[in-house]
């Protein structure tokens, strides 16, 4: 009996890693390579010299400045308007909440060009909002404002969904306690709810930033392309494929590295994981 038992244990030790883990591991490696391989291939088509010459190219510098400025403004707008929207989605109990939830996700699944066209129609000269603004002498389409509009529209849902998800996990009991201790609803929001949702907010903000930096389809449609005004990094990359393919790849590598660094930084700081 003893002997049999030992054999049994021996067999178990030999297959210490269960088969389903081996299987998952193989599939996971394939999935990771699927993402890594094209990006690594891109790296082989560029050189340090290309990267350095891209870093001195005025077109590239203008595109980086426009991308940086517009993304920063988009992020501020997303934080300002997206946080209350996430709060409403996570805590609100009202008819049509599911509809609102689905609506918020629409820019994620729409082709960006369609998003750009919708913005062009809505804020264009002949549209309801654009018509009124146009009468005041403000033209949104084909301006830097339109770049911000496109980025906020397409990147905003990443933030809203991340924060709504984070808020849903916050223990409402803690808020309840704060209230019973006499805290006003505002105080509860600022000192309890938002700090508890902060990891999700940081995570959502980083996702939105990376998405806004990479936005192309909606931007070119509603904002167009003028160097130093509406030409962002992705637009510059697209056009550089013709003028200077090496420069285009170098610029693409820069964008990929910046985006990767953003995503990595959040994980490095260990503040990414929603509670």
């Amino acid at each position: 009996m003893n002997h049999v038992g030992q054999t049994h244990a021996g067999v178990r030790a030999a297959s210490a890693i269960p088969a389903h883990w081996v299987m998952s591991g193989i599939l996971a490696v394939i999935a990771a390579l699927f993402i890594a391989f094209p990006l690594a291939a891109l790296l082989t088509r560029t050189s340090v010299a290309d990267l350095l010459s891209a870093a001195r190219d005025p077109v590239v510098l203008d595109a980086m400045r426009v991308s940086g400025e517009t993304t920063a403004i988009s992020l501020l707008l997303i934080l300002l308007f997206g946080t209350p929207l996430a709060l409403v989605l996570a805590r609100g109990r009202f008819p049509g909440r599911a509809l609102l939830d689905a609506l918020v996700g629409l820019p994620l699944v729409l082709p960006p060009v369609v998003a750009g066209l919708a913005l062009l129609v809505a804020f264009g000269r002949t549209g309801p909002v654009g018509g009124a603004l146009g009468a005041l002498g403000i033209d949104i389409p084909l301006s830097t404002t339109a770049v911000v509009l496109a980025q906020s529209f397409v990147a905003g849902p990443f933030f809203v969904y991340a924060v709504a998800g984070g808020l849903a996990q916050v223990d409402t009991g803690v808020e309840e306690v704060a209230r019973t201790l006499g805290a006003t609803p505002w105080r509860v929001l600022w000192t309890v709810t938002i700090p508890l949702a902060r990891p999700a907010m940081v995570y959502g903000a980083v996702l939105s930033t990376a998405r806004a930096l990479g936005e192309f389809g909606a931007t070119i449609t509603v904002a167009g392309n003028v160097q130093g005004r509406t030409q962002t990094m992705p637009t510059a990359i697209f056009l550089a494929f013709e003028r200077d393919p090496h420069g285009a790849v170098a610029l693409a590598v820069v964008l990929a590295i910046v985006s990767f660094a953003l995503l990595l930084a959040v994980r490095g700081l260990r503040i990414a994981r929603p509670l």
């Binding site: 129609v121 264009g124 000269r125 084909l142 070119i220 904002a223 167009g224 392309n225 494929f241 013709e242």
Partner: protein
């Protein structure tokens, strides 16, 4: 080109053509990245084709058709653009294709010719530069923005103006027009070289030329 592919498939049972329709510069970039990506390359200008030829990506090209450049305006012509000179008038919102793409390069040549031939006043280039609110990566972008009424005018191919009722064409002096050419060539790495050659022959036949003529292209 969608109509041509369909007509070809009907006339050649068992053979079919799948098209990838993009700006020529984009198609050339794809061909460079993967020379076997297509069997046939049709360019909107000779410059891209010459480059493909230099890099030995394609065989000997033949010209399939020509096209003209025109000013396009939104339906109703709200900016009252009736001639090239109006593009440089203060307040005109103009959209052109980026000089990096064929339509943009032709636009630059159109403007250069107009200045050189005295069809527009001095200062035309500066006015145009000031009025340009976007340099599109593709001529379709020019058409979309003009059709939406966001701008007063754009410069596109005569065939673009014919393809949609949302824009109207304003002709330019014939002498200013850099008549454009569409060269086509079978790629070096073609996996279906025979079908590609068949399609090319079809495009040059009277049936193929009829389709191109109806779309507004001029015969080679």
């Amino acid at each position: 080109m969608g109509g041509e592919a369909g007509a070809f498939a009907r006339a050649h049972p068992g053979e079919s053509v799948d098209g990838d329709y993009e700006g020529s510069q984009q198609l050339l970039a794809k061909l460079r990245a993967d020379p076997g990506v297509a069997d046939l390359f049709i360019s909107a200008d000779t410059a891209r084709m010459d480059e493909a030829r230099r890099q030995d990506l394609v065989g000997t090209p033949v010209v399939l058709a020509h096209n003209r450049m025109v000013i396009i305006v939104p339906r109703g012509n709200p900016g009252r653009v009736t001639a090239l000179a109006d593009l440089a008038r203060s307040g005109t919102r103009l959209v052109v294709a980026d000089p990096a793409v064929p339509a943009g390069a032709f636009t630059v040549r159109l403007f250069t010719n107009a200045v050189a031939r005295g069809d527009v006043a001095a200062g035309f280039d500066a006015g145009v530069a000031r009025n340009t609110v976007s340099r599109e990566d593709n001529v379709e972008g020019v058409v979309t923005k003009v059709a939406s009424g966001e701008v007063d005018a754009g410069v596109a191919y005569a065939t673009d103006a014919m393809a949609t009722s949302d824009v109207a064409a304003v002709p330019v002096p014939e002498g200013d027009d850099p008549l454009t050419s569409y060269p086509a060539a079978v790629t070096r790495q073609a996996r279906h070289a025979r079908v590609a050659a068949d399609f090319l022959a079809f495009l040059r036949s009277s049936a193929g030329q009829d389709i191109l003529r109806r779309a507004g292209f001029l015969p080679p």
